[in-house]
């Protein structure tokens, strides 16, 4: 049974989703785990913008065609549909943004793009993290984005518009809830005590007043909110604390992508930023060792945000680098889950970004052709020439890869080429000899389903095709502290 997708018209939409699933693909496994098979802890990984090709490309670079990323070694596979709805309606919006998608799995409801923790009509929805906290679980929210950005925000705040991140409320960037101004996301996070551990970026969304409030509520604040970013060393220093609430924001904005951290910005401040895997390790340590977690478990969301952000930029090198680091963080969780034997690990995405794809070595895309062939729309047949004009590669716009050997020509359009783990020694990124040829369709999100991987207790119910709203009910069902005995 699918989770209903809207308070108004819920049954109609839920029925529609069920019918689509039953016709188009094998029905998702939906039964709740058997008693004793529910997880005490849940770690939910979100690769922002991570479609199947992002996984494929990272695999080829990291471990080669026959290898597997850590996420791919999780035993349960599925796919997730991601569509949103238009404001104040149940009308599907086929391409979601991060806000709508994150609200879908955190609350079980479809909503409009830009909505954070509210439904399509602006009604505030209880979230998984809020419910976990209420059930006595420890809670954590980790991201390489500003923690006020859409994906983390939808677990522990509510906003009519995702742009209302703080520290200042403005009508244009925030809109209203029920006609009333509301607290910006950062200021909600500082005051609602929903997450015990908050690690990521966005220090300048917060203020000294927020710090005073959080310290008053028992948080250890690394750095100074709104004034001085936290450092990886500070994070290391608190890792042994078992009952602490911690907020550490390591950049004024988003964290630095790993490729840039290594090459473009080797400044001390950037080098002080922890990686996603380091933050994940720290968060698990802080959450799992607490008394509340030993009694009721913990719920942790971890977002690899820069996969999406660098896909928007059509930067394949950084996209791959961020996907590999996201997988490193998953490896950390897998090791914990293997030892703990009571933890559910789920890996999925909010949406695909930029139509990332692998083309044949030596081939080219329509967009590189002298006269890009137009799409047909029911007008062609087997007797009709598919291409009426030259589809040859345009030498004016595509003289080589956009990286490496072709990078000196700024007019080059595509592709970006990368050596894979299977390529002979000496083959370099950006060379025609590299096996992995990557292109982007656009600079924006697409409506493709996204992959899901899961393992650990209760993971079987995530198998198969499902909607992003289904994840909410399934996580509730699979989590001991959140389900009815």
């Amino acid at each position: 049974m699918h989770t209903p997708v809207g308070f108004r018209g819920a049954l109609a939409l839920g029925l529609g989703a069920t019918l689509v699933a039953s016709v188009a693909a094998p029905a998702a496994a939906t039964a709740a785990p058997a008693p004793g098979e529910q997880a005490r802890n849940v770690i939910l990984f979100i690769g922002d913008g991570m479609g199947q090709t992002h996984v494929d490309a990272a695999r080829q670079v990291a471990v080669g065609a026959a290898g597997q990323l850590d996420m791919e070694t999780l035993p349960v596979r599925g796919a997730v549909s991601t569509w949103a709805v238009l404001p104040e309606s149940d009308t599907p919006e086929l391409v979601t943004d991060s806000a709508s998608a994150a609200t879908a799995w955190s609350s079980g409801r479809k909503t409009y793009n830009a909505a954070i923790g509210v439904d399509a009509y602006g009604e505030i929805l209880p979230t998984l993290m809020e419910q976990a906290k209420g059930a006595g679980m420890r809670t954590g929210n980790v991201s390489t984005a500003e923690v006020t950005d859409a994906t983390p925000a939808a677990q522990f705040s509510h906003a009519a518009l995702r742009g209302c991140q703080g520290p200042t409320y403005s009508l244009e960037s925030c809109g209203t809830l029920g006609g009333q101004p509301y607290l910006p996301i950062a200021q909600q996070i500082a005051r609602n005590d929903v997450a015990d551990v908050i690690l990521g970026g966005g220090n300048n969304r917060f203020t000294a007043e927020d710090q005073a409030v959080m310290e008053g509520n028992g948080y250890t604040v690394l750095g100074e909110l709104g004034a001085q970013v936290a450092t990886g060393d500070e994070l290391q220093a608190v890792r042994d604390g078992s009952e602490q609430r911690v907020i550490g924001l390591f950049n004024t904005g988003n964290l630095t992508p790993e490729v840039n951290k290594a090459k473009a910005f080797p400044t001390p401040a950037v080098q002080e930023e922890p990686s996603l895997s380091q933050m994940t390790q720290a968060a698990i340590g802080l959450l799992a060792k607490s008394r509340d977690a030993r009694q009721n478990g913990f719920f942790l969301q971890v977002e690899g945000a820069n996969i999406d952000k660098r896909s928007h930029a059509n930067d394949a090198a950084q996209t791959i680098g961020e996907t590999i680091e996201f997988d490193n963080a998953i490896a950390v969780a897998k090791r914990f889950a293997a030892k703990d034997k009571n933890t559910l690990v789920i890996v999925t995405a909010d949406h695909e970004c930029a139509g990332f794809n692998i083309i044949g070595k030596g081939s080219y895309t329509n967009a590189e052709a002298v006269t890009p062939p137009g799409n047909q729309s029911g007008t062609s047949s087997t007797e009709t020439p598919v291409r009426t004009e030259s589809g040859a590669l345009d030498p004016e716009r595509s003289t080589g890869p956009v990286n490496g050997s072709g990078s000196a020509d700024p007019t080059n359009f595509a592709p970006a080429t990368f050596r894979t783990a299977d390529d002979p020694a000496g083959v370099e990124d950006g060379s025609p000899e590299a096996s992995l040829w990557l292109t982007y369709l656009s600079g924006n999100h697409t409506g493709a389903d996204v992959p899901l991987f899961a393992g650990g207790k209760g993971s079987e119910i995530f198998s198969g095709n499902q909607d992003n709203t289904d994840l909410y009910g399934k996580i509730l069902a699979a989590t001991k502290a959140l389900s009815t005995p």
Partner: protein, 179 residues
């Protein structure tokens, strides 16, 4: 992806929003065949709602006076939470008091979602003459994307009332959000 225009309109609120939201949450859980969260869960969700609906602090207004009078024709960018993410090049006062610049947003900028500038004009004695909140339409940034970010986004802010010929100005960046 841009926010749909309709999402910017105030959304309707029921007469009992908290109760409805709670009922909706319970309905979702019940219909999903899953468990109903315990009472503590509802309380925390309610607390989060209560916090969310707290009144925000008013946006900082332009200072009534400068600490010291500024030379005529100068424009100063005030330090703020986002001044490490944006550079206003060729910032100047032009005829009629227009504050003109080319904005470079060079950090965290796969897509520009929100940008607001608070521009204030001061007389020769440093007293506030007028101010205005300038809201940039993110669509206007699309053609200025480059490998380095959003580069050269034109800024031209007119004073809402006439300002003296010897006026100076300040610019603050209270809102900046990138995808």
């Amino acid at each position: 992806m841009r926010t749909p225009a309709t999402a910017r309109t105030p959304v309707r609120r029921t007469s009992a929003p908290l109760a409805v939201a709670g009922l909706a949450g319970a309905l979702v859980v019940a219909l999903a065949g899953c468990s109903t969260p315990d009472a503590a869960t509802v309380d925390v969700a309610g607390q989060a709602r209560e916090v969310a609906l707290s009144s925000p602090a008013p946006a900082p207004a332009a200072a009534e006076a400068l600490d010291a009078p500024a030379p005529a024709g100068t424009v100063v960018v005030l330090d703020g939470p986002f001044t490490d993410r944006i550079e206003l090049r060729e910032l100047r006062l032009e005829e009629g008091g227009h504050v003109v610049a080319a904005a470079d947003v060079t950090k965290d900028v796969s897509e520009l979602l929100e940008l607001e500038l608070e521009v204030a004009w001061y007389d020769a004695a440093g007293a506030l003459v007028t101010s205005v909140r300038h809201v940039v339409d993110p669509e206007d940034a699309e053609e200025h994307h480059s490998a380095a970010g959003v580069i050269g986004l034109p800024v031209d802010v007119a004073p809402p009332v006439p300002v003296p010929a010897d006026a100076s100005a300040t610019v603050a960046v209270p809102v900046l959000v990138n995808e």
